[in-house]
């Protein structure tokens, strides 16, 4: 199902995106442990009650564990990861259309499903390198700085985040299969995800937002079994993947 020659080409083609997204997240990952104490002091010394309630301030300052989760999984990784997933996904299929290389590829002995599957595998691999790689870097720097971090829980939360970002990637790729221009596909996907994020802005419906799940809030706060969000993301990913294959198989070149 995965064509190795095409996989290599996809990785070669997206290497600059990989370097940039990893560099950005790695920078944030390295900075995070260094900013723990200044942040805690800042919270103590500056009146932030207008911006954050006391419960939030207490939570962030309570332990390095909570600080790392809130600033990494709950903020940096979600924000930058979503951007990376959209950037990786928007050109996955539409790049072949816009650069006119689709016919060259399709004339090779490879099925459209194989092409789609290989491209998705390459994108998910690159996303994993970015997300998991930078998370591991954060854990290493935390260890080096001597901060107590519950590695198992933190890694699980970030695996949930990665699974959610994979859904963002596969959903964006769907637009890429539908729209021939990568930028237009990216904008359409971004608008779609913006629309999907709307429930997250209201306390009553926040749990129905995919971004709420990507941040692993139910797992971190309420001890939800990680299988639940992972299963939810798996079903969504499967639906996006099959829809994408269906759309891509019907494109005329």
């Amino acid at each position: 199902m995965i064509h190795l020659t095409l996989l290599n080409k996809e990785i070669l083609e997206n290497r600059v995106k990989l370097y940039l997204s990893f560099a950005l997240l790695a920078l944030l990952a390295v900075a995070l442990p260094f900013l723990f104490e200044p942040t805690r002091d800042f919270f103590k010394n500056v009146d932030l009650s207008y911006y954050l309630d006391q419960q939030q301030l207490n939570f962030i300052g309570a332990s390095y564990n909570n600080y790392a989760w809130s600033q990494w999984t709950g903020k940096n990784l979600t924000q930058m990861g979503v951007l990376a997933a959209i950037v990786f996904g928007m050109g996955a299929l539409s790049g072949e259309s816009s650069f006119g290389t689709a016919l060259f590829l399709l004339s090779k002995p490879i099925t459209r499903r194989e092409i789609y599957t290989t491209k998705m595998a390459a994108g998910l691999l690159l996303l994993a390198c970015t997300v998991i790689g930078s998370t591991l870097l954060l854990m290493l720097v935390s260890l080096w700085k001597g901060y107590p971090l519950d590695g198992g829980a933190f890694l699980t939360a970030n695996l949930i985040a990665y699974a959610g970002l994979s859904v963002i990637y596969l959903g964006t790729a769907l637009f890429s299969a539908l729209i021939a221009e990568p930028v237009k596909a990216g904008v359409a996907a971004a608008l779609f995800w913006l629309l999907v994020s709307v429930p997250g802005y209201f306390p009553g419906s926040a749990q129905y937002s995919i971004f709420y799940q990507i941040k692993a809030i139910p797992y971190w706060f309420f001890g939800q079994n990680p299988i639940v969000p992972l299963g939810f993301f798996l079903v969504l990913a499967g639906a996006f993947y099959e829809t994408g294959v269906w759309l891509w198989s019907r494109r005329e070149f």
């Binding site: 190795l4 020659t5 070669l12 083609e13 650069f99 016919l103 090779k108 002995p109 005329e252 070149f253």
Partner: protein, 305 residues
């Protein structure tokens, strides 16, 4: 094994209500060099893409190398080398990387052929593809199409951007390699002089419809033109003799296109008082232009006519 490399029946393709290809029934004998001739937008490229299973037909069907082109596209492309019109490659790759990338899709790959052709075409292996001229891209495309030693070679306007020397070499290489591996060549081209030299079968296509398909010899020997200057106007019946395709006036002369019954038409013209009577040599170009300006004589129920 079938004697036909490609056989289609009533193959059609519509794009948003516009018929790109209409009811094409084609038979390409194995081992032949089959030329598909037609003006731009006549449906040649769409037909070729349907034959290799890249574009699904709207109606009709066919077999390519014995495989149903509706469902066995993968098997067809495993045995087919394809060079599309003005091929586009990944611009960031070098020539060497494109060759290596293409090699990864086929179980067999003739490295010696690649080495020889790259040297003869003087292709710079280290150059990025976006730096190549269109002619060089076509040369690269021909190499990637030939290297898997395909049973069928499908070439869509392969000599666009070639200078005459490279064009001659291209066709020489094409024929040498096709003969050496007993491949069938299906070629759409505007280079009528080269096509006339290398093709042994020909199909004429216009507005998505097949006008004629036959052997090149039959086309060239069967399609003649008589130029006659009569002393007085001939009777209408003379110009309606069986086998007359089209009649044009050029000054005082009549130019009579003959599709069959050359002797009978000649005798009928000779019997009427005339100043001059001669057969005009008709090459592929004249025949092509005649068909493209005129109508169809093709009977869809008899694709080999």
């Amino acid at each position: 094994m079938s004697q036909l490399a490609v056989e289609t029946w009533m193959l059609s393709k519509e794009y948003r209500g516009h018929a790109a290809v209409s009811g094409v029934s084609l038979r390409v004998p194995r081992g032949s060099v089959f030329a598909l001739l037609g003006p731009n937008g006549s449906g040649k490229s769409t037909l070729l893409k349907m034959i290799i299973g890249v574009t699904p037909p709207s109606a009709g069907g066919g077999l390519c190398l014995g495989y149903d082109l509706l469902v066995k596209g993968l098997q067809i492309r495993e045995r087919t080398g394809y060079l599309g019109e003005e091929p586009r490659y990944y611009g960031y790759m070098t020539v060497r990387q494109i060759l290596s990338f293409s090699k990864g899709f086929y179980p067999q790959w003739d490295d010696a052929l690649v080495e020889r052709a790259v040297a003869q075409f003087e292709l710079p292996l280290k150059a990025k593809v976006h730096e190549l001229s269109q002619g060089m891209k076509n040369q690269l495309g021909l190499i990637t199409a030939l290297a898997p030693r395909p049973e069928l070679l499908v070439l869509d306007e392969p000599t666009t951007g070639f200078d005459p020397v490279k064009r001659r070499f291209f066709f020489t290489l094409l024929i040498e390699e096709a003969v050496s591996c007993s491949a069938t060549v299906l070629i759409a081209s505007h280079q009528l002089d080269e096509v006339e030299r290398v093709a042994d079968q020909v199909a004429l296509i216009k507005q998505g419809r097949l006008l004629k398909t036959c052997s090149m010899d039959a086309l060239l020997s069967g399609e003649k033109e008589i130029r006659v200057v009569f002393q007085k106007e001939p009777p209408p019946a003379l110009l309606q003799t069986r086998g007359i395709g089209r009649v044009r006036r050029e000054g005082q002369a009549y130019l009579i296109s003959v599709t069959e019954n050359l002797e009978g038409i000649w005798e009928a013209c000779a019997a009427w008082p005339h100043y001059a009577l001669e057969t005009v040599g008709t090459g592929l170009e004249e025949i092509f232009l005649r068909y493209m300006e005129g109508g169809s004589d093709h009977d869809p129920s008899d694709p080999l006519k």
